[in-house]
């Protein structure tokens, strides 16, 4: 294309870059401020001296987070939840996506199955009935209450299904001629081919499970079963009480950290795993958008 070098164009570019840079900074600076606050002294934070660099650098807020035990315990719950939940999600998605990728001649009632699943993507019974059903299943206070209610992520399953449909049919046909059954074809032949799509939907599940907090709060009566995000949620309201109950000399503790530095440290630690895998997230979430837009 012909390069436009007029004055108007240059002015526009100046304006454009200013807007883009300011907006991008707006998305990043809150995190920088959070990080700076978490490493600053309580006095500097209370005085409003901390902007994007720690003032009175110390790591007390992080020591406090890690010494209490609750942070690690809830992180361990979250870790179990992410691993188990993602495995369950992937298993069910693959097992459902493969038959549903077939035509209705090959799998009787395909349309009915499909409708059955898609309805749940559009409608739900609402908070109270769902809560009461989970109570009835006896899963309260068990990690399965965080995994089984969303065991089949329908949107991701549709992405996988569309991906399978995009594979050349000959692969399956030749395996069938060699006498392989559907399960063998799925495990031996399709799974290796599905890797890129599985990475995408697997990341959807990982992020979803890591970030969920509300189910932990309503399905866990005992707060020691809380996953990390549910535990962090309790910090929003009651960090002061947690500091008072921590067994430290309260006035001494307050001299080193306060609610703001302490909370900032734990929020940052909670965000860290997501920030660490962010490069993958960005790559695969964008692929997911493209895969998802392939119409079945």
């Amino acid at each position: 294309m012909v390069q436009d070098r007029s004055l108007g164009r240059k002015l526009f570019q100046l304006f454009n870059y200013t807007v883009l840079i300011l907006t991008s900074l707006l998305c990043v600076l809150p995190f920088v401020n959070l990080l700076a606050v978490s490493f600053s002294s309580s006095a500097a934070v209370s005085a409003g001296d901390v902007v994007f660099w720690p003032v009175g650098f110390n790591t007390k807020a992080y020591e406090f987070a890690l010494e209490g035990g609750e942070f690690f315990r809830s992180m361990w719950v979250s870790f179990q939840r992410v691993v188990l939940g993602t495995l369950v999600n992937l298993a069910l998605m693959v097992l459902a996506a493969y038959p549903l990728s077939k035509t209705k001649e090959k799998v009787m009632g395909r349309g009915i199955y499909m409708g059955f699943f898609v309805v749940t993507m559009l409608f739900n019974g609402g908070l109270i009935p769902t809560y009461l059903i989970v109570v009835k299943t006896g899963l309260i206070d068990s990690i399965w209450s965080l995994i089984l209610p969303g065991a089949l992520p329908v949107f991701s399953m549709i992405i996988l299904m569309n991906f399978i449909r995009g594979l050349p049919e000959e692969i399956e046909e030749s395996a069938t001629i060699d006498g392989a059954g559907p399960m063998q074809i799925l495990v031996r032949i399709l799974l290796p081919l599905l890797k890129p799509a599985l990475a995408t939907v697997g990341l959807f599940s990982i992020v979803g499970h890591w970030n969920s907090w509300f189910d932990g709060i309503i399905y866990m009566n005992n707060t020691s079963n809380y996953p990390l995000q549910s535990y962090l949620q309790t910090l929003l309201l009651s960090f002061e009480q947690i500091m008072q109950r921590s067994g430290n000399d309260y006035t001494q503790l307050l001299a080193m950290m306060n609610v703001r530095t302490g909370r900032a440290a734990q929020m940052f630690l909670g965000a860290l795993p997501i920030l660490a895998i962010y490069p993958f997230l960005q790559k695969y979430f964008t692929t997911g958008l493209v895969l998802g837009s392939v119409k079945g």
Partner: protein
């Protein structure tokens, strides 16, 4: 027919685990909605005595109920508008950036907040929007009085709208940018030969070609209009701002789970589900008519 089913047995077996789990955790709650017409008693479960429309009459008489509907619609509508205008504008500006690496950097930065939970975001918001937070320090530099972003009922809804758009616009930007890059560059070259400058090209080529995506995204979010953002508001509101900040979902939570008025909570949820159901159906019909979009 039986022979056919036998051949297909493996496929149906693969679907069984998903069908069972979805039935229990998504379809049983539909059945559980009947408690909206009962006086739910945990001992009797779904066999509790029927009370007809009593729960609904009780709810509709509450002055808070109308307030929550108004708040829900108010915040939702402005979030929806902001959630379209901002990413479209940002994508258009980003599309003018010639260097690919720079374009990707901006996109990467604005997409980050999208991946963090509202718990962590709320932790950040409470910190930066507080009376001694960085935003008020900045306003102080400009000679403005501190604003109580989360404690002033007149400001609270706008804090919610702006922060929601802020968290989510990176995703929209990715969607719209994908649509923009798929526009045939030949069209711009032809327009240039006809003497159309950048501004005219944007008005007469880019926007019309972007319109189907914009319409699709708008129509699809219409079905969500009664979801004003539970995760966000639950973590940021407080009794001082109930007047303007309480939405249907937070109201249902307080009524149904916190106060254990299961039937009344379920009645509000039922009312919401009916309206949402109509909206979802209408929006999908519209999406199909206007943009030829089908979910499956």
């Amino acid at each position: 027919m039986i022979k056919k089913l036998k051949q297909q047995r493996a496929f149906h077996l693969m679907l069984i685990p998903s069908v069972i789990l979805v039935f229990i955790f998504s379809y049983m709650p539909f059945y559980g909605m009947i408690i909206a017409f009962q006086d739910y008693n945990p001992g009797l479960g779904f066999g509790s005595p029927w009370v007809g429309m009593e729960n609904f009459e009780h709810v509709f008489r509450q002055p808070n109920f109308v307030r929550t509907i108004w708040n829900t619609l108010y915040m939702s509508v402005f979030k929806l508008i902001g959630g379209i205008v901002v990413p479209v504008a940002f994508a258009l500006l980003l599309n003018e950036v010639v260097r690919a690496a720079l374009k990707r950097t901006f996109q990467t930065l604005v997409y980050i907040p999208n991946f963090l939970s509202w718990v962590i975001m709320a932790g950040i918001m409470i910190d930066i929007l507080g009376s001694d937070g960085i935003v008020n320090s900045f306003l102080g530099l400009l000679g403005m009085k501190p604003v109580s972003f989360l404690g002033n009922p007149a400001v609270f809804p706008w804090t919610m709208i702006v922060t929601d758009v802020w968290k989510g616009f990176g995703f929209g930007t990715v969607v719209y940018l994908a649509a923009l890059t798929s526009i045939d560059p030949g069209l711009y070259e032809a327009a240039l030969i006809d003497g159309a400058k950048r501004w005219k090209q944007t008005i007469y080529i880019t926007l019309p070609l972007l319109a189907p995506t914009i319409i699709l995204m708008t129509v699809l979010s219409l079905g969500n209009i009664l979801n004003a953002g539970f995760d966000q508001i639950f973590n940021l509101y407080s009794p001082v701002v109930y007047e303007t900040g309480d939405i249907i979902d937070t109201y249902v939570y307080r009524l149904g789970i916190q106060q254990a008025q299961y039937s009344v909570g379920a009645a509000v949820g039922f009312f919401k589900s009916i309206i949402s159901c109509i909206l979802v159906v209408v929006s999908y019909v519209l999406a199909y008519r206007v943009a030829g979009y089908r979910i499956f």
